[in-house]
């Protein structure tokens, strides 16, 4: 029975939600860390996300985006970087002094390079 046939009966196949650390790679993380070393200092408090204007109207979450970068989860990151308006309010609240706005800018740059096979 094909998947199409199965769907007639309401069955679907869900993509795994597992983060398989050994199946993903950290090229984007390393690119960002090299250009914005303060990225390493994030301890995931969520202050940036609480202050974020974009996050009040979309699902954008900078704290979670940082985690995706660290784990090498590129697909969710690709969507995230387009949502930030680069206003920089997150910079004002970060207790570890991460240059959060630049992290987003460099992450967007890394994704563009990745898609052009330049990373």
């Amino acid at each position: 029975m094909s998947i199409d046939q199965a769907n007639k009966f309401g069955f679907t196949i869900n993509r795994s939600r597992l983060i398989d650390y050994d199946a993903s790679d950290r090229k984007v993380r390393d690119y960002i860390t090299a250009r914005e070393p303060s990225f390493r200092l994030c301890f995931a408090c969520g202050g940036c996300t609480a202050a974020c204007t974009a996050g009040h109207h979309t699902t954008f979450n900078l704290r979670r985006m940082n985690t995706y970068i660290r784990r090498g989860e590129i697909d969710p990151l690709r969507e995230e970087v387009t949502r930030c308006m680069l206003c920089g309010k997150c910079l004002l609240v970060c207790p570890r002094g991460v240059n959060t706005r630049n992290v987003v800018a460099v992450a967007a740059e890394a994704i563009r390079k990745l898609d052009r096979n330049e990373l």
Binding site: I19, F43, R70
Partner: protein, 343 residues
């Protein structure tokens, strides 16, 4: 003090017992220090370097050695205090081996034991080769050699926080306090010894409670590229390549995570020592629901037992770092002296 110096017995020759003995001796009291091992020193004897500044443990060990080089101190090794009871106006203790010793007061400093990691069977300690404890990693630092069981160099090491702490399943609801900062210290040491080895800490909360602990955590991220993943590892197994595979929720991503490791280090917590429990049982000393000795007041009586002439020092009352253990031992001496002066 007039006439014959008063005599204090100290049960346990670890950091607390040694500091209490040295302080009492300096004040002119006669001390008998009873240690169950071959020599006084306690757990620190196995340690290579100490948090938060990663100083060599040898510096503190030599301080402790000198602390008890005193003519007022008599050291009895390979012996435990089995029972404390009242005798005349003072106390008498029964020692293992059947002898008895009399004194004016007793300080109990029986300390802690490290959690037996085999009790968390899902982590595979004692089953898989490359699952070790934080104490065993410290021995590897002593030998200046971090290798897998087959002698090869690891490329990824995971440190698992809260093994035997904050875990109802092993009857320990308490936090052992020192394991978080120990993990950060050990993570940095691994990164310095093996710069190409990735290091991951799996934590529930980072409890950096002491001075310069939080700074050490920051240093680990900023200068040593130590990775931190928030989540409690649920289980470990071994795959066909003979690498450990762990399952954990990356709680900051809200998704389950799977990762291979070469060595898994279990940050074992602190429990009340078995010898202390036996002594408490035999002598009628109260213990709390965490099994450590219960003091008369958490805030202003935390060296006091409910038994006249018996005082508590160090980790027999709660998990403590070395700094706090030394302070607590000195405070126990202050309480003991106040009691002896009133006799």
């Amino acid at each position: 003090m007039k006439g014959t110096p008063q005599h204090v017995i100290i049960a346990g020759g670890g950091v607390a017992g040694i500091e209490a003995a040295g302080t009492l001796a300096d004040l002119g009291y006669r001390v008998t220090l009873v240690e169950k091992g071959d020599e006084p020193g306690g757990h620190i004897l196995q340690w290579h370097a100490l948090f938060p500044d990663r100083r060599p443990a040898g510096e503190v060990k030599s301080y402790l050695r000198k602390r008890i080089e005193h003519r007022n101190i008599n050291i009895i090794t390979r012996t435990t205090v089995e029972k404390i009871r009242h005798h005349g106006g003072g106390v008498a203790v029964n020692l293992s081996g059947g002898t008895e010793e009399k004194a004016d007061a007793v300080i109990v400093a029986t300390g802690f034991e490290l959690f037996d990691a085999r009790r968390k069977e899902e982590y595979g300690y004692g089953i898989y080769d490359n699952v070790i404890t934080s104490a065993e990693l410290e021995e590897m630092f002593n030998r200046n050699r971090i290798v897998k069981a087959d002698g090869t160099v690891p490329s990824r090491i995971g440190l698992i926080h809260c093994v035997g702490s904050r875990d109802e399943k092993v009857n320990n609801n308490h936090c052992s306090k020192v394991c978080c900062v120990t993990a950060v210290k050990q993570a940095i040491e691994i990164r310095k010894m093996l710069p190409s080895c990735e290091v991951f800490c799996f934590y529930m909360d980072m409890r950096m409670y002491g001075p310069y602990y939080e700074e050490l955590y920051r240093e680990a991220q900023e200068f040593h590229n130590v990775n931190f993943i928030r989540g409690k590892v649920s289980e470990a197994s071994v795959n066909i390549n003979n690498r450990l595979v762990i399952k954990v929720e990356d709680t900051l991503a809200g998704r389950p995570l799977r990762m291979e490791l070469d060595i898994m280090v279990l940050m074992v917590g602190m429990e009340m020592a078995g010898s202390g429990m036996k002594l408490a049982e035999a002598s009628g000393m109260k213990r709390g629901i965490n099994r450590f000795l219960e003091t008369t007041d958490h805030h202003y009586g935390n060296n006091l037992s409910s038994i006249k002439g018996v005082f508590y020092a160090g980790t027999c009352t709660a998990p403590m770092n070395i700094t706090d253990t030394i302070s607590h031992a000195r405070a126990a001496v202050a309480e003991t002296v106040r009691y002896l002066n009133g006799k």
